[in-house]
Amino acid sequence: MQKSIMSRLWVFAVWAVIGLFLINLMGLIASVVTSSFGTRWLGTWLPAGFTTRWYFAAWDEFQLGDVLWVTFQAVGAVVLLSGLLGVPAAYALARREFPAKRAVMLLLLLPLLVPPITYGIPLATVLYKAGLGGTLTGVILANLVPTVPFVVLVMIPFIEQIDPRTEAAARVFGANIFQMFVHVLVPMLMPGVLAALLLVLVRTIGMFELTFLVSGPGSQTLVVALYYAVFASGVRAVQSIDAMAVIYMVTTLVWLIVALRFVNPTQIVGRGKRPAA
């Protein structure tokens, strides 16, 4: 009997910690959303009234139209390029045994193990020397460094699941490697590719450090613009910063929800990070 009370207490404690975490997280998100719709909010539980005008104010003040367009271009290019570079490389690594394979795997793991800010500073220096600092191209190049290895590592197990005889059959019927990719492998790999690219999308929208170090006035993505807005707060109404934060939140959440329809998050982290073991 003593033991069952102890174990019940333990279960209760574990759930209490989960609950505490989630309540604070939700409270945090809800207070940003509430503030962005509030008129005046001083010393009360809820704002005095509700309005949507902060969204229009934020849109004008922070040139959100331009920022969203830059974000869209940068993220689109990063997703497309990491797919084009990552999936074929994952295929080669999953299917062939070649002399330098271990070295290549290590090379791909490094950018995921080193924090972005550590390699971001030398990378930004090099990009500025090459005249790419502050440009959209520079932002795209910098963001490819962690995303391409990520795609490779996520895709390797997906490719290994496919029976090699399928490819052999395609080759027997005279398909060259390009045709085999387009007509056989890509359709079979679509769920995996979609999952990997959606995660790249979410990661790139939220990638602060690299974009922050490389971007200039005309090449800020949404998350960097948000940082500058919070950093220089006091000049602007707090509600319009919150409105911008909500816009940022919605852009990531939409894609996260889409991504979660395709992947189970625990699987993807397990798959993505296991090779590190």
């Binding site: 940003v32 062939r96 791909l108 030398p122 919070v230 189970n264 625990t266």
Partner: protein
């Protein structure tokens, strides 16, 4: 015709010999990816390393001497570690029991989805939300005061604890998901066997799960540590960037973009990388002291 015959006489062609070693058209697909990492990761790193030995004063180790001679600079290492170590350890210690509980649940999807939220929201949004939620008039303080637990609002912002909380909020989900994937990878029949032999929950955890989990937990610790270690936005926004939370990434950023001393910035980035590497090597080194072997019975 004769060329073909000659080729046969010489044995396999270069192409065939390469293919036998695993190098053919498909293998070459790895090259663009390798070129990208070499060009955008390895080259900048080496460039930064060279640059760090060319300080403004012309001496070889000028930057490093300046860094380790100035407490305002070398102190950042300890400030970073003082944040990153407890946060990572706390996240791991909370994640293990929760992962064991969630492992038994049928519907894990909602919970894991909720927990993925902070990862995607990122540190900037969490910091911005914290300014509001934990502020003197925020819901956190109001709720605690209404419940009678506090008489005056507590201030966690603009200091060590603000950054600590933001790192837990953004770091815990990542640690949890990794831990969960390792915990669910252990064959449940091992636990059943231990239970049959009369081991209680605590003994089962200590004698069966923990030894099997140590390698995974070491990796989780390293990856979570890397995240906590490179904190920048929250240290500026909800911390005390000139004092208690002046972490090493702030020092590097200021050197690069406020003093425009790229040489010094590269030196700080290299020191940062080296310290992080030391921690990772130490943790993985400890791992090898424990059991290594399969954690799943018949799983390939």
């Amino acid at each position: 015709m004769s060329a073909v015959l000659e080729g046969r006489a010489e044995g396999p062609t270069l192409r065939q010999r390469l293919a036998a070693r695993g190098i053919d058209g498909a293998t070459l697909l790895v090259l663009p990816c390798v070129a990208l990492i070499l060009g955008l990761f390895i080259y900048p790193f080496l460039y930064g390393l060279m640059l760090s030995f060319e300080p403004k004063d012309g001496s070889l180790f000028g930057n490093y001497a300046r860094f380790f001679g100035d407490p305002f600079l070398y102190g950042t290492i300890f400030k970073t570690l003082r944040l990153a170590f407890p946060v990572t350890l706390l996240n791991l210690l909370i994640a293990i029991p929760i992962a064991f509980r969630v492992r038994l649940m049928r519907r894990q999807r909602l919970l894991t989805t909720l927990l993925v939220l902070p990862i995607t929201l990122g540190t900037v949004l969490v910091a911005e939300g914290m300014l509001f939620y934990f502020g003197p008039q925020g819901w956190f303080n109001r709720a605690l005061m209404a419940a009678g637990l506090l008489s005056t609002p507590i201030s966690v912002l603009n200091g060590y604890w603000g950054v600590f909380i933001s790192l837990v909020l953004t770091g815990f989900p990542f640690t949890f998901l990794l831990t969960l994937s390792y915990v669910t990878g252990i064959d449940p029949s091992l636990e059943n066997a231990a239970a049959t032999l009369g081991a209680g929950p605590a003994a089962r955890f200590r004698e069966v799960f923990l030894p099997l989990l140590i390698p995974g937990l070491a990796i989780t610790f390293c990856l979570s540590f890397v995240q906590a270690y490179s904190v920048l936005p929250s240290a500026v926004l909800v911390g005390d960037p000139a004092g208690a939370t002046r972490v090493i990434s702030i020092a590097a950023y200021q050197a690069a973009f406020e003093e425009y001393d790229y040489s010094m910035a590269s030196a700080i980035a290299m020191i940062m990388g080296a310290v992080q590497l030391l921690v990772v090597v130490a943790v993985l080194g400890c791992r090898s002291l424990f059991y290594r072997g399969p954690a799943a019975g018949a799983k390939g």
